[in-house]
């Protein structure tokens, strides 16, 4: 078993001596490493790889298919981004996202928190109420969009019902109104997502030590004041987590809009995700990719500081 070549592998001497071979670093935990390859592959090829691909090809002039010569004649620099910013349709999409995002965020949090506080008051039928508030979360956004489209339909829905009751001049045709259609999306989006925030907040409220409540009661602090000055500051982590989840969901809004308004009337309820989809698969690939990258950057602006805050803190603890 003598090693005739000049190079000795680590461990060969020990092998010749008859002792157990010390494991080579790479092969340790081999089973674990193999088992985790799907995860690692996903990270490398999808999350990193695909993202980089998108960002790279957004710098080219791809039309229906990816450019054949991306580094050569098809290289376009930032021209797709320039076109993007000049596109009226993109402007509308971004506007809609901002309006929808801010309004939904505010309403979801305010309503969600208030509902959680009320549910925390040791009421009867708590389980029933919670089931009612949370069931929309179990539905697809498509269903939400369709049913609210139906309910807000001027000809058959809310407007007609109220008029039938006697108020002839009542009008609620927001969904057909270019300026107001975004707000109908807010109504539907809030309906879907508030239950989740309420459930998270309620869990956070329940996590507040009972003795803090006793102490504030002995101190004579009224309940509402205790909520505002003591409990809410204690719930900061829950708020942040819920904020990130809801914000991440808002940026992804696609199904809801497709089902409820289809982007219409006309282009008035376009959203970035719809814009991307249509350009990417239909007319101008690289512009769609540029739009995707812009979306990515927006998300990064929200998520990266939060991740730094959250994970950085844990490392110091």
């Amino acid at each position: 078993m003598a090693n005739v070549s000049g190079t000795l592998k680590s461990g060969t001497v020990a092998e010749q001596a008859g002792a157990a071979k010390p494991p080579i670093r790479l092969f340790r935990n081999m089973a674990a490493k193999l088992a985790l390859t799907p995860m690692m592959a996903t990270v490398i090829f999808v999350f990193i790889g695909c993202t980089l691909w998108t960002m790279f090809y957004s710098l080219t002039t791809s039309r229906v298919l990816p450019a054949a010569d991306p580094l050569g004649k098809d290289f376009a620099g930032l021209s797709q981004y320039v076109r993007l910013f000049g596109d009226n349709r993109w402007q509308i999409s971004v506007n809609n996202l901002i309006v929808y995002g801010l309004l939904t965020l505010v309403f979801v949090f305010v309503i969600g928190f208030l509902l959680a506080v009320f549910m925390d008051q040791k009421i009867r039928f708590e389980n029933t109420f919670r089931t009612i508030f949370l069931y929309p979360f179990a539905l697809s956004f498509v269903i939400t969009g369709l049913v609210w489209q139906w309910m807000l339909n001027p000809a058959f829905g809310l407007q007609k019902s109220v008029r039938d009751l006697g108020w002839e001049s009542f009008s609620f045709d927001w969904i057909a109104n270019r300026r107001m259609v975004v707000y109908t999306l807010v109504i539907a989006g809030v309906w879907q997502m508030t239950g989740l925030v309420m459930a998270l907040m309620l869990a956070g409220l329940r996590g507040v030590d009972d003795e803090i409540w006793k102490a504030s009661r002995v101190d004579g602090i009224p309940k509402w004041r205790t909520y505002i000055q003591i409990v809410i500051p204690m719930m900061r982590p829950v708020f942040v987590t819920a904020l990130v989840i809801v914000a991440a969901g808002i940026v992804r809004t696609y199904d809801l809009v497709v089902a409820m308004t289809g982007g219409g009337p006309g282009l008035s309820s376009q959203f970035p995700t719809i814009y991307i989809y249509e350009y990417m698969f239909v007319s101008n690939l690289s512009q769609g990719l540029a739009a995707s990258t812009m979306l990515l950057i927006t998300v990064a602006i929200i998520v990266v500081p939060w991740a730094y805050y959250e994970f950085g803190r844990r490392r110091t603890q």
Binding site: E211, I212, K214, A215, V218, G220, I230, M234
Partner: protein, 361 residues
């Protein structure tokens, strides 16, 4: 006039009666300890006195006023909790002054009270810190301070030292005793630790199963426990118990196995002397050995089975008529397993309990 009075108070949660027709009078400036195992109702009783729990029946008086329906803040009490319950996002100063600000007290009055509390408890240098930056002992002092600034007559403590390690516990125990001596307020203190109870209390209320088993000074409870439960709960190491029976013949003796303990020096509570099954209780520290034992009304030779050196002295285990018996010897006395030694005790210092009811005879 009693400082705190509980009259015929009961508390039930649904069908379960947690506190059963309690009666308790606590004098002005008295340090009363509610002592008992988990689930005996001591914390519940404290919470009722504080007004955090609604009673099902009965009344509560504090400083002569009927406070049964009053909110905690109107009862003239301050409370200290097991988990300190400090408001985490406020500084120490904020914690101390929050309640006062809410009550609308003028700023200089608040400052004066905070200053006084921080002087007494020596937390002055900590005023600007947040609770998360304090040690356990410091947090507990701040919690006491929060009760102090309320300028009340009655302080309630709900197992305040249970979250601290042993060394801190004994340090803070002394501080609480000093605080009581300095302020002379009425203090009601809940604990499951009988050492805390014995060292701090003017009187102890031993509780079990929602009832007060015995309300007396620590010495009285130690020397004459009113039932088997109290006897076993107080005193560490625990009392020795021997099953047997009381026989009334020419002389009253306690028989177990083949030995008879003369009971002529024992003071029976009832005029009726039991004639049935009974339990004899003797504390390890009341058992003497060697030459001292031969002078005792009862003595017997036992074989050493286990020796537990505890530093200050040694606990020795043997068997008396096949029932375990422990007694104390000096640390210097070296005993080996298998040694035979004479032990004895005075039945006058022992306790006799009825086997069925556990009541003292």
């Amino acid at each position: 006039m009693a400082s705190v009075s509980v009259r015929e108070m009961s508390l039930s949660f649904g069908q379960v009666e947690v506190l059963k027709k309690l009666n308790l009078d606590i004098g002005q400036g008295e340090f009363l300890v509610l002592l008992g195992p988990s689930g005996c109702g001591k914390s519940t009783l404290l919470n009722c006195i504080a007004g955090l729990l609604d009673v099902s029946a009965g009344q509560i008086f504090i400083s002569g006023k009927n406070v049964t329906w009053e909110e905690p803040k109107d009862r003239g009490i301050g409370m200290v909790f097991q988990s300190y319950a400090l408001y985490p996002q406020m500084s120490v100063e904020g914690n101390l002054s929050f309640g006062l600000k809410n009550a609308g007290l003028p700023r200089d009055e608040i400052a004066r009270r905070v200053q006084r509390a921080s002087d007494i408890l020596q937390i002055g240098p900590l005023l600007k810190r947040k609770p998360s930056a304090l040690s356990g002992g410091q947090r507990q002092r701040v919690a006491i301070g929060r009760a102090l600034v309320r300028d009340v007559d009655v302080f309630l403590f709900d197992e305040p030292l249970s979250n601290l390690d042993a060394k801190l516990r004994s340090e803070l125990r002394v501080e609480i005793k000093r605080l009581h001596q300095r302020l002379n307020n009425t203090m009601i203190y809940v604990t499951h630790d009988q050492i805390e109870a014995m060292t701090l209390a003017d009187r102890i209320a031993v509780m079990y199963g929602g009832e007060i088993q015995q309300l007396d000074t620590p010495q009285a409870i130690y020397n004459k426990p009113v039932n088997r439960f109290v006897a076993g709960f107080i005193g560490s190491p625990g009392m020795n118990f021997m099953d047997g029976s009381v026989a009334n013949g020419s002389a009253t003796v306690f028989r177990t196995g083949d030995i008879a303990v003369p009971l002529d020096r024992y003071r029976f509570d009832d005029a009726i002397k039991s004639n049935g099954e009974a339990v004899l209780g003797v504390r390890p520290e009341h058992i003497v050995y060697g030459s001292a034992a031969s002078g005792q009304p009862f003595s017997q030779e036992v074989e050493v089975e286990v020796v537990e050196p505890m530093g200050s002295d040694t606990l020795v285990w043997g068997k008396l008529c096949s029932q375990n018996l422990s007694f104390r010897v000096e640390a210097e006395k070296s005993l080996k397993v298998g040694d035979r030694i004479l032990i004895g005790f005075d039945p006058g210092r022992a306790s006799l309990f009825d086997n069925a009811s556990g009541r003292r005879l």
